[in-house]
């Protein structure tokens, strides 16, 4: 560090002691700064190198887990529903798509109530029992079909042919869910493909309409069907892919949170 008693450099017009005073006043912090020394080359501790080596090994292990490159299947599975964990309490049946759930319910009712006459393939016998396959009244407007099932049918069918004494009423013991199931089942099975779901709400409306008929309790006729019931049942249509509870047929509110 420079000292005030050092000789001024006479060839320069700088007054060193005055310059030094300025330095002390204005650049004290800079004057006492140390120069950045030359770069060192001390030996590096082996422990640091070993520790870094361990971390490199761990990182290699992590990277080794990434074996599948661009594979999405490990992280994204279509239609995946988490199954109950072993030991987890029973959270009830798994939700199903609406069409499948209604059809499953309808299949049971069909085998109990319809199978005896219309047959397992629903083709009837051609003489006493008509076929349901491709029948205009089966795949046609839903209210017409519901009235036939609930009240039975007298006289000619959609083909104009009369089958014996006609069809007896099937309303006894039939709930709205049952009716919805059986209607959805026969409209989407045996080669019939309407693709729509008759909801329990629509079936409930059908029960009400049936009870309010002028000739309640009697079989319907072709004329009555065409005159009064040739329309779709009231009620909001349901997307066949909606997830529903297979027992109650109510929409499953949150299938992910409540698997």
């Amino acid at each position: 560090m420079s000292l005030p008693e050092q000789k001024p450099d006479l060839e320069d017009s700088i007054n060193v002691s005055e310059a030094h005073g300025r330095l002390v006043r204005e650049a004290a912090a800079c004057v006492r700064e140390k120069r950045i020394a030359a770069n060192g080359s001390e030996p590096i501790s082996l422990w640091v190198i070993a520790l870094c080596g361990v971390v490199v090994l761990i990182a290699g292990g992590i990277l080794g887990g990434a074996g599948d490159w661009f594979n999405y299947k490990a992280t994204f599975r279509e239609g995946y529903v988490r199954s109950a964990a072993p030991g987890a309490e029973d959270t009830g049946p798994q939700p199903k798509e609406a069409l499948a759930a209604y059809m499953a319910k309808g299949a049971k009712i069909y085998s109990a109530k319809c199978n005896g006459c219309h047959g397992a393939d629903a083709k009837g016998d051609g003489a006493n029992y008509p076929s349901l396959v491709g029948s205009k009244w089966v795949v046609g407007s839903s209210e017409k079909l519901s009235m036939i099932i609930l009240n039975g049918l007298q006289g000619p069918t959609s083909t104009g042919k009369t089958y014996g004494a006609g069809m007896p009423a099937q309303a006894a013991g039939l709930t709205a869910e049952d009716l919805a199931g059986i209607m959805t089942y026969i409209r989407n099975n045996f080669g019939n493909t309407t693709g729509d779901v008759i909801t329990a709400e629509m079936a409930k409306a059908a029960l009400d309409i049936s009870a309010a008929r002028a000739k309640a309790g009697q079989q319907v006729t072709g004329e009555e069907l065409v005159a009064d019931h040739d329309k779709a049942l009231p009620g909001a249509p349901l997307d066949p892919k909606t997830m529903v509870d297979p027992v109650t047929l109510a929409p499953a509110t949150a299938p992910a949170a409540q698997p």
Binding site: Q6, E26, I44, G65, A66
Partner: protein
């Protein structure tokens, strides 16, 4: 010492003093407004943290709901404090190391005001409900071009200084600072263009946002703080950097590893399968550049223990470098795909890691650098060593608490979240005690930084001590608030300016 070298060293000191003088207002502007933003950010952080354990707090005010306060807290921390502290340190260090006076003071100050305007409007935008919802990029879309333009205007001068510097050695700090100056626009433009201008699939958008956060930490804050530490350690102690070749290894490993990190946040998401693993491996590998830089600077500082004991700059730097070591260890332990990684995705741990990086490491080194720079640019010494000690102790105890509870408590919370047979509320109640401790710790940090802000503001308006002796952290002279004084010159002659 010969007369010739004396004269040249005095000329050199005057040159350095001239550089400092030219940067007085830009540096003090960025540090002071940065410290003010830090206080705002911590206040918002306290509110956000308090809402975790007391959801009813301030619930009647839509502007202060958690979904707005929390992003405002982090964005104010990153863009308000972090970036501005980095600006102050970069413009000063680059000018000093390139030995060039700053000739663009007006441009820098104008751009600095523009930057603050952008951050203010951005924070107001978030609080008024106009945030974008992209983490760390919540500012409404108009803000990012403003920030980018002001960034370029602030730092272009430092590039020019580097280009026209006298021939010679490029110092280690300059590698890191130059790299950070170049990397930030790359990260910022990439993320903002991909997310705002040409948005692709939202899942990939989430991955880009995760990469952006990681890159801001590892490719900007980390090199700036390491660069500053590589300057302070040899400058204050007067000893050479422990190992030059180790510094080279640290720099290049950071440059090679850091850009790959970040996408481990998307573990289990339908993005290409290897990306989260690559991100986790790269984040774990950050240990290498972090540990080499920490080892190098700590060994350099330990070679002059008597200086280390009294220098405020070194005390903060050592604390920050310790934070770097903890951060490096956490980078390994939080990114093991089989065990810890899934626990950090939606819990306090991810937040804890970011806060550890920004406050526990970056900010502490920035404080240390500020304690070195401010006396030089203001030509006054720090007023009180007691204020510095309060700042240090409350900051360090606060950040240790925040880091411990968010990292460890976050893992606890993550375990609760993974147990999907339990309701989500069970995971929240696991985090409850940690959230309370978090709030208390943030209050400590706010307290410490209000003192720092006050101290800075007093220094800027010229109320610092006028003395040729620095303010040191000595406890031997408890009778004097300034430590060992030497020739106090408070009533001395006025400067010639």
């Amino acid at each position: 010492m010969s007369s010739a070298t004396t004269s040249s060293s005095e000329q050199d000191a005057l040159l350095r003093a001239g550089i400092d003088r030219s940067l007085r207002h830009p540096v003090m502007f960025f540090l002071t407004s940065g410290a003010a933003w830090l206080a705002v950010s911590i206040l918002l952080g306290i509110i956000a943290s308090a809402k975790v354990h007391s959801p009813g707090l301030l619930s009647s005010c839509a502007w202060l709901t958690y979904g707005r306060v929390f992003p405002a807290h982090l964005n104010a921390l990153v863009y308000g404090w972090g970036m501005q502290a980095a600006f102050a340190v970069i413009i000063w260090l680059m000018a000093r190391l390139s030995r060039k006076e700053c000739t663009m003071t007006g441009t820098i100050l104008t751009a600095g005001h523009l930057w603050n305007l952008g951050v203010s409007l951005g924070v107001i935008g978030i609080l008024s409900g106009n945030g974008t919802g992209i983490p760390w990029m919540e500012f409404p879309t108009f803000a990012w071009p403003v920030l980018l333009i002001s960034y370029i205007a602030i730092l272009i001068g430092s590039f020019i200084q580097f280009r026209v510097r006298p021939e010679g050695h490029v110092y280690i700090s300059q590698w890191y600072l130059l790299a950070a100056m170049i990397w930030f626009p790359w990260i910022f433009i990439t993320a903002n263009t991909l997310l705002h201008c040409i948005p692709g699939h939202p899942v990939m958008g989430a991955a880009i946002s995760a990469w952006f956060r990681s890159a801001i930490i590892f490719l900007f804050f980390m090199p700036v703080a390491i660069g500053a530490a590589y300057y302070l350690a040899p400058k204050v102690t007067g000893r050479p950097i422990f190992s030059y070749s180790l510094a080279k290894l640290g720099f290049w490993s950071l440059a090679i590893i850091a850009p790959w990190a970040g996408m481990q946040k998307l573990t289990g998401a339908p993005i290409p399968y290897f990306l989260p693993y690559l991100g986790a491996a790269a984040t774990a590998l950050i240990f290498v550049p972090a540990a080499t830089a920490a080892y190098n600077t700590i060994r350099t500082m330990l070679s002059a223990e008597e200086t280390l004991a009294v220098s405020p700059s070194l005390r903060f730097t050592v604390a920050g470098i310790t934070g770097l070591v903890v951060l490096a260890a956490a980078a390994v332990f939080l990114n093991l795909p089989g065990s810890t990684l899934p626990l950090t995705q939606f819990s306090l741990s991810g937040y804890g890691f970011e806060i550890l990086a920004i406050y526990g490491f970056f900010s502490l080194v920035m404080f240390g650098t500020a304690y070195f720079i401010v006396p030089r640019v203001t030509r006054r010494e720090w007023l009180s060593s007691r204020l510095i000690k309060i700042h240090f102790l409350f900051s360090v105890y606060g950040i240790i608490t925040v880091a411990l509870i968010t990292l460890f408590g976050g893992l606890q919370q993550g375990i609760g979240q993974e147990d999907w047979k339990q309701p989500w509320a069970a995971a929240a109640s696991r985090a409850y005690p940690y959230a309370v401790a978090n709030t208390v710790a943030w209050i400590l940090i706010l307290f410490s930084n209000l003192f720092f802000l006050l101290h800075l503001a007093l220094m800027w308006i010229g109320l610092g001590r006028r003395s040729s002796h620095p303010t040191l952290l000595q406890s031997a002279h408890a009778s004097s608030p300034h430590g060992a004084e030497g020739d106090i010159d408070n009533a001395g002659p006025a400067t010639t300016h």
